[in-house]
Symmetry: C2
């Protein structure tokens, strides 16, 4: 926490109500911004004379202005002040103020003094019009959408899962679900029932979204520093929303609350911070039709039903939908949906033909630029595959040239397994070649002798395009590889470091792994970085349709055979034949 303009690392004994230790931290980086600090900072310009003058000069009314806080990163400065920058927007009856930036102004706030310590009004740019930016249903103009007929998920006997404190049990799964103000949902002690062994077998000790890096690609004075580390600067959990029943989650959802600490240490509740629901999307779990046997054609089909744990975090303009999905097959699927509002920059331009300079952005509407940016999400995946001593195997599908007289084939491929011995051997950029990535328990094998394992399967792949020596890339150094493996270390929780606001990138996954520690037959952590490059398009304006990506953790010779072979055809729920 931050007090007396110093960062304190305080360990508290809750049982005995004692402060066990209180150390002042003098390294680089500052803790998470509190909501109170941001609120206070956002109000400063509204009473700051130079800002009021800037607003007047633009012919705007200061009572219609709203400001938002932006962390400033680190660009090699020897700065010792805890500061942020404030960008302001014009409401004037509109609600979608992020579409209406008051461009050209840079206002720097010292958070410890809570005052504006830097101010520059560099240029005047028109504020984009509000027309067509309102996203509220009640404010839409004709022609209206005709609407679809009503549809719901109907579970007359209630859900098939139980929640006991924070322990969730569903189908063959059992796991613990906790809320963290930095990471949001934390899944731990996930295990799956194996009917063949008649026991719950360990899959994952703990997993969560460790950091979220969002670098923008605009080099101008007002924008160059916008390279956010959302988890460590703003808190994915702290920015979580109470989920809206029937909207954010379907009718069959069950909700859970979450708690975080306010600046004064008091607990604050976020109601409905998680929802859990069974998902049946009409998908097929497995099937086969066999027409070749004597007698009738056999058609056996099982339906895919899964359990979804959802949280939504709105970090200022962006909404992140975080789904952890548990499948009966043993697969854990993580899906990240990006929605909400683009970071919009004001512009003098109303048509592309007028543009003769580099804008770092796409023209989405008159005077409205969507700035190029990336989103990189780093997941801490501490798998414990059938026990905590695990190893990491890269399987490369190697093309082989054939030179055999009796075979007319000239080529084929062969999987080549390579067990990574050290951290260096497990740094992997995806997209180059055909590979599988498996965390195995090297001490256990299936009956026929395969290592028991779980495999990471990426959905789409993105890697950073920034230079390694660039300041923001040093701070977001954990994005350099899509996959990393580390030996478990209690202090290595956050891929971008513990204290990241204005941090120098000296405590990241990229730095820890330079020690090149052994990772064979150890309690290891798999880190996966998922990325999006975002060139905005007009369809993203004035609110973005959800853009999704994710990954799966899938059992790979973990079970002796298909674990959903015995999944039953579900009890048929009749459509109720009664008055609506």
């Amino acid at each position: 926490m931050r007090t007396d303009a110093k960062t304190h690392e305080i360990i508290v004994d809750l049982t005995d109500n004692l402060i066990v230790s209180d150390k002042v931290y003098n390294g680089s980086g500052y803790p998470l911004l509190t909501l109170e600090e941001q609120t206070a900072a956002n109000e400063l310009p509204l009473t700051y004379a130079p800002f009021i003058a800037s607003v007047k000069k633009r012919g705007l009314n200061v009572s219609e202005v709203i400001c938002s806080s932006f962390t400033i990163g680190w660009y090699g400065e020897k700065r010792t002040k805890r500061v942020l920058k404030v960008m302001c927007y014009y409401i004037d009856g509109a609600v979608n103020f992020y579409m209406r930036p008051i461009e050209g102004i840079t206002a720097t706030v010292d958070l410890d003094e809570m005052k504006i310590t830097g101010y520059h009004d560099r240029l005047m740019v028109p504020v984009p019009k509000a027309d067509g930016t309102d996203y509220r249903e009640s404010m839409q103009n004709p022609p209206y959408d005709t609407g679809l007929k009503g549809m719901t998920v109907f579970q007359p006997d209630g859900p098939s899962f139980t929640i006991d404190g924070h322990t969730v049990r569903w189908a063959n799964w059992e796991f613990h679900l906790a809320f963290d103000m930095r990471a949001g949902p934390v899944i731990s002690l996930a295990s799956i029932y194996d009917p063949e062994k008649d026991e719950h077998r360990s899959v994952m000790y703990r997993a969560y979204l460790s950091e979220l890096f969002v670098p923008y690609m605009d080099l101008t004075e007002e924008w160059y520093y916008t390279t956010f580390l959302d988890a460590g600067e703003f808190g994915i959990g702290l920015c979580a929303n109470p989920l809206k029943p029937l909207r954010d989650c379907p009718e069959n959802a069950v909700f859970m609350d979450g708690y975080f600490t306010m600046q004064d240490g008091k607990p604050e509740k976020i109601s409905n911070v998680f929802c859990l629901f069974e998902r049946y999307a009409g998908d097929i779990l497995w099937r086969h039709t066999e027409p070749a046997l004597p007698g009738d054609t056999i058609t056996e089909v099982r339906q895919e039903t899964s359990l979804v744990v959802r949280m939504v975090s709105t970090v200022a303009n962006y909404d992140y939908i975080i789904d952890w999905e548990f499948k009966q097959t043993g697969t854990i699927k993580v899906t990240i949906g990006l929605s909400g509002l683009l970071a919009i920059k004001g512009s003098v331009y109303t048509h592309k033909d007028q543009i003769n300079e580099e804008l770092y952005a796409q023209l989405l509407a008159e005077n409205t630029l969507g700035v190029h940016h990336d989103h990189f999400l780093s997941f801490h995946l501490d798998l414990d595959v059938d026990g905590d001593a695990n190893s990491f195997i890269k399987t490369n599908l190697k093309p082989v040239r054939v030179n055999k007289k009796d075979v007319p084939r000239k080529s084929y491929w062969r999987p080549v397994n390579d067990m990574a011995k050290t951290e260096s051997e497990a740094k992997i950029k995806l997209g180059l070649g055909a590979s599988e990535f498996v965390v195995v328990n090297p001490n256990k094998k299936t009956k026929v002798g395969n290592y028991i394992g779980y495999r990471l399967i990426p959905e789409s792949v993105s890697s950073p395009l920034l230079s390694d020596d660039d300041f923001e890339q040093i701070r977001g150094g954990f994005t350099k590889y899509n996959l990393w493996v580390t030996p478990y270390n209690k202090s290595e929780k956050w891929a971008g470091g513990l204290l990241v606001d204005q941090g120098h990138g000296d405590d990241t996954l990229a730095k820890w792994t330079l020690r090149n520690r052994g990772i064979e037959n150890k309690d290891i952590v798999l880190w996966y970085t998922l990325g999006f490059h975002h060139v905005p398009h007009q369809e993203d304006f004035p609110v973005m349709p959800t853009l999704s990506s994710g990954f799966e953790l899938r059992p790979t010779n973990f079970f002796e055979r298909n674990p959903v072979l015995k999944v039953k055809v579900p009890k048929q729920v009749k459509w109720p034949n009664c008055t609506k």
Copy 2:
């Protein structure tokens, strides 16, 4: 068609009941196998003395044997006979006979003579046991799955789509859906309503799965030739199954029939070959929470509902689930699910420790090998983006080094657009670098001056690992690149060629594009190849949990703004409060 041991290309005038032309084809390749031919070929071994002797020698009972037909590809031979190979399996009370190959025998059938013309019994291998391979629900042994509580999709007012002949209308979409015995579902004349322009705008002239290439990686005498072109050899449509209501498709599905021609020219119906249903999986179409405004927090959320068109094709052991999904955002999403049964090879081995040779396969159970293989699916995507004259733009996100005194940044990225002029410039291997691929209408722009376009977004990416000069890779040459663009040509429908059984690969997408034709501002076709490398795992035995991949076609500056801004919160369907 095939008659008098010749391949005839016959053009028939259905209106006047006339044969317009009848040409004998003398090039490489033969037409689709008929179901009748396969049935006849599969029965030949059962009365063939050397085969009966082979079965007896193995201590098996020939009345419990069942055989299946396999196309043989082309390996440079100057063969002039239309032949296939037959592999046989042991039922003996089991239904999952594909798990029980009678290994070591090669039987070649001449289809025109319909007799066995080649036979070799090379080695004896144990037939894998049937224990645990039955996938029928009624035949499972304890411990049973406990089962989930009942769940259904409930649409009291019926579906929101209409089917008028073969024209489907749903939400903002309108398209034609046809059944083809080779391709399965064919989507054509797809257009979307633009409320801003108050008109339906063209998106896609025609799209379908053009070929499906499945090369296996086993070099032994009995397996080396297994490199199938499922669409052109077996027919994705011809192998389609009647969909099982409530299993293959949810309760709210509507079914359509399909027709194909039998060997004698008579039409045959496949009932319920397609299902159409509205899908609501609990996903969020778009959302934003705005806590920063004066007054109450705004939370606006819209639910994602889509329309799914499904067909399932069972090509012998494999089941392919083909979904065309239409979204209100304008996105068309194609998902291919692989389920069914692996191609299994018998083996002497019961444990990995016994293995000292290369097996081209994974040991999945005692005496049971899952052979390494790929699946490549080539889609013919004839987009007509707001008209038929289109161009293809590659947008590369280019890393740029910064050398500016006033900016502390050292790097950023910039999208660089490159409009492909010829077919060569549009051959693209994915996975290398950050790019976007857009089909645009170069004659139309949005109000602010962006090209109107639709973008292809791959889900996961695979490329072939076979040598370019390898025979099967020549026949499957269309897999070399993930993306190709051709000018529309009526005769270029099938990526692997019109006649592919035993074909020499002289009529493929790879060959057509060697002409390097112009593709700018023309009616163009985008070809996308989706791939899976499959190293089987024990979870795939004895029936595979569905493995999925796909791609999206997404509007990209096609609309002036988010086309789902005005989508309504759906009418709330109350859970019926009446007796179940």
